[in-house]
Amino acid sequence: MAGAMGIFVQIVKRDLRVASRQRSDLLNPLIFLLIVVSLFPLGVGPGPDILARIAPGVIWVSALLSAMLGLERMFRDDFRDGALEQMMLLPVSLEVSVLAKIAVHWVMTAVPILVIAPLLALLLNLPMSAWGVLWLTLLLGTPVISAAGAIGVALTVSLNKGGALLSLLLLPLLIPLLIFATAAVEAAVSGLSATGPLALMGAFLVITITLAPFAVKAGLRVSVN
């Protein structure tokens, strides 16, 4: 098992280094998220009540859409330069490498969202009592996006026109996440306990993290021939 752990750490280090040298790739989805969120007050009117009412949904839908933008990067470059094939030839099972890729993707895309989440809540006039729960839903939900997203990327990485297709494949699968995340935040806004939806999101997290690597592996086997 030491070998598997070592390779996991190696891939994490390597991917973090690669990602830190392509900063615009990381910044663009974040700027996209900020712009989409700031479009809503312009579209539906700046009334603080309306904004507070739609804030959980707007933040979550925008987070999902911006995640779709950056997902492709997870395997695309490795597929093009052949690193993916090397990963499949490693003496440890491919699931380890896949988990490392998912972890790095989460750190590079979700952690910035977690950092600016209070800013988004502030922009949309979300009551401060719900900020903690919003942050928790993002903390529990973004790894699900990364892990389920990896399945979609693995299936489409060999296609040139993967982008729009990726959203078509993934967004329907992520609907339960959106439902429970917004339910949790809305419960917190109205002063109710949000533990129920949060517990379900935790369950999604466990299921996707444990099962997704197997589907990713099968998908990569199809894409890398």
């Binding site: 296609l159 078509l168 699968l173 609907i175 439902i179």
Partner: protein, 257 residues
């Protein structure tokens, strides 16, 4: 399982089996559709509350039931394709997907037409409508992923994986949407199976509905079989057995070509 499945990895064997079972689905399907639709649309009594417009149930419910059922069968075919690497099962996934999508669309369309007089609106974001809409998206995803691949073999495998991922998600989507919002009436028939309750529908209406449910299954299954056979012939057009089938042109084969 393997011993039973193994012969049908050969396209020829699958084609022959399909030709054998096709009439058993097609003929009862056509007969039951004729009986069920005439019975339901003309002879079943009108509803005491909804009048004549409830009759759309005889199309709506069978389509909705089998839209789910065919997704599960598609996922089973996908599992067989991935676990035992059987190519004909991949083709079955692709044969089922458009038929299932059509059933889903029919259930959504008839639901909208029914909702207009009953609820006063074409569409509401109700749980069962929404989960049906998501099911349509899942079907479209499988079809879109397949056509995106240039290599048909890779496309079939990718579509099988997606069908499997989707089938794990279907119960989650169904119940999450269910908790989210509910306006649609509770199921009146499937609760016999899922909750062991007696159906809350008059027997004069229930029987034509049951006939239609089986009719839709027969017809849709026959369509799947015909699609699968056409695909088998198209893929193997240069093989001797396919040439033989195509050139013979006898009555048994002509309905599939």
């Amino acid at each position: 399982m393997w011993r039973w499945l193994h012969p049908y990895a050969k396209s020829e064997a699958t084609f022959a089996l399909n030709q054998k079972i096709l009439p058993w689905f097609l003929i009862p399907g056509l007969l039951l559709t004729a009986v069920g639709l005439v019975w339901g649309l003309a002879y079943a009594p009108p509803d005491y509350q909804q009048g004549e417009s409830y009759r759309i149930i005889f199309v709506h419910v069978p389509a909705a039931i089998w839209s789910m059922g065919f997704y599960v069968s598609m996922a089973i075919a996908g599992l067989i394709a991935l676990v035992w690497q059987i190519r004909t099962a991949e083709l079955a996934v692709l044969a089922i997907a458009p038929v299932g999508a059509a059933l889903t669309f029919i259930s959504l369309f008839t639901g909208a037409v029914w909702g207009q007089p009953m609820w006063g609106t074409w569409w509401v974001w109700d749980a069962r409508l929404t989960s049906q809409l998501i099911l349509l998206f899942l079907y479209l995803g499988v079809m879109a992923l397949y056509v995106a691949f240039e290599d048909e073999r890779a496309g079939g495998k990718a579509a099988s994986i997606l069908a499997l991922v989707g089938v794990i998600n279907i119960p989650i989507i169904h119940y999450s949407v269910y908790w989210w919002n509910t306006l649609h009436q509770q199921s009146t028939i499937t609760k016999v199976i899922t909750r062991f309750e007696s159906p809350s529908i008059a027997p004069e209406m229930l029987w034509p509905l049951v006939v239609n449910i089986f009719a839709f299954m027969g017809l849709a299954a026959a369509l799947v079989i015909m699609r699968l056979n056409n695909e088998l012939l198209r893929r193997e057009i240069h093989r001797p057995w396919a040439q033989k089938v195509l050139n013979s042109g006898d009555k048994e084969n002509s309905n599939a070509v």
